[in-house]
Point group: C2
Chain length 280, copies 2
């Protein structure tokens, strides 16, 4: 990547963050449908981007089936306020049966990538909605869901920002996995983890946190966002590298690379949800 | 397929049925670990067959990761006596992260087909174990699980047998989907459905049934096994046709085509389980 492109990428990143971060915080505060619709859009646009990545490889994901299932799943997650396993089974059975209405060529791979696109985007994004709506389930204070998701988002954002800045500054050597993501260095990664943990500690002392979570719980959440969040970036980098594109946004010009912007939001919140299920 | 091969296929089918059907009924009667271990083996051998199918297409499913996950999932299903959605989320997150320890080439497709193999075999087969163990969950009579799975298996077997015999006899014309499965005719399909329903009615009058299921419930189960069971055969045919093999057993000589023998057991029981969740 040349310097100019790197700068314009950084500028677009800053611009999106400047508008996007306050917007997401406001949406998280509101919760309910506005928040669900926003992340539903993220899920569906990300899913289309993902399917376009796969098309570059010469496969034919069933975009319509995947996207309609994605929208239905997001609504189910919102309405049920929890992961419904029997419904996930129904989706899997449905995807398998829909094989019969598609050409046999590449049947296995096409059903596999279509279903993976559904799981990677709408299914994992639905966790963000479930986390926000969780207090409803336990008759808790509805704002606790707000504190929870903002805590998760903020630690991911600060982690990303510090990883970026420290990576530029100190990360000339000691790359983590240059074949997957040439830019990422251990220096940036450790700075990112520290950023995630410092965010958590700050939020704890400001008491911007769900009532029933203590410092230990919050630190575990910080470790998850700081470590798994960055690992999630690598997963998406591996997917892009597989296809041979640098930037998922280059596939869908105009809306700016949903996968690139939200890659840390896909895997880490799933682990946060699992941790909360254990302790709650 | 030439006549000789068709005959030897029929003979091997008869032989396996003659030994296999009473064995499976005895295992279902015993329940518990023997039944779980048997279907665990079916799941894992079927999964390996499925991965070998995919390898024919030039992809590299992570066989070890898939199979170990499959074994763990089967044990979890047995111990928990229900589908655990948070654990399925954990498996998905794990599969995504394991991308990072594999070559980037074909990363998306390899994770997609590995996960599909896990879902199609161990995950769906685990439903058979959950159905058998269900009464434990509801403090019911443990033999009700036996009656339930034998009812499902028998209606699938009779359906398959009648579809085969009537298909040979009357099914020269009116093929359903010759591109996917050249042998299957509407005559065979309708005979199969009638066979499934007649089995159900027979079991009802012999009172070989779970205590809390009435005739209507049983007939719905018969419709599921008679219709969806046959659709499940088509799904597997589409997968084999995609790869260009006639018989999944030809890939793993010796243990005789698990996917071919159990293809009707994969999708229909999932719908039976969903129906029971609705009515129970």
């Amino acid at each position: 990547m040349n310097k100019e492109k790197s700068l314009s990428n950084f500028a677009s990143r800053m611009f999106i963050n400047l508008l996007g971060i306050p917007a997401i915080i406001l949406l998280a505060r509101a919760g309910g449908l506005p928040y669900t619709v926003f992340f539903g859009l993220v899920a569906v646009l990300g899913q289309i981007e993902f399917y376009n990545l796969i098309k570059q490889k010469g496969f034919q994901p069933w975009i319509n089936v995947g996207v309609i299932s994605g929208i239905v799943w997001i609504l189910i997650a919102y309405l049920s306020q929890g992961l419904l396993c029997p419904l996930l089974l129904l989706f899997l059975l449905g995807f398998l049966l829909i094989v019969l209405f598609h050409p046999v060529t590449n049947a296995i791979v096409n059903v596999a990538v279509t279903f993976l696109g559904f799981l990677y985007l709408p299914f994992l994004i639905s966790i963000l909605i479930i986390l926000r709506e969780m207090p409803k389930r336990y008759d808790g204070n509805y704002l606790d869901g707000y504190f929870l998701v903002v805590l998760v988002f903020s630690s991911i954002w600060i982690c990303d920002a510090l990883a970026y800045v420290f990576g530029k500054w100190l990360g000339k050597r000691h790359k983590i996995a240059p074949k997957i993501s040439p830019g990422k260095s251990w220096a940036g990664c450790i700075a990112g983890l520290c950023g995630a943990l410092l965010t958590i500690i700050l939020f704890y002392y400001l008491d911007w946190k769900p009532e029933n979570l203590g410092l230990r719980d919050l630190l575990i959440i910080g470790l998850i966002t700081g470590i798994i969040g960055q690992a999630g970036d690598f997963v998406e980098s591996a997917f892009k590298r597989d296809v041979g594109v640098k930037d998922s946004s280059s596939l869908l010009l105009g809306h700016g690379g949903i996968l690139d912007r939200f890659d840390s939001f896909l895997i880490a919140p799933g682990f946060v949800y699992l941790y909360l299920l254990i302790i709650l």
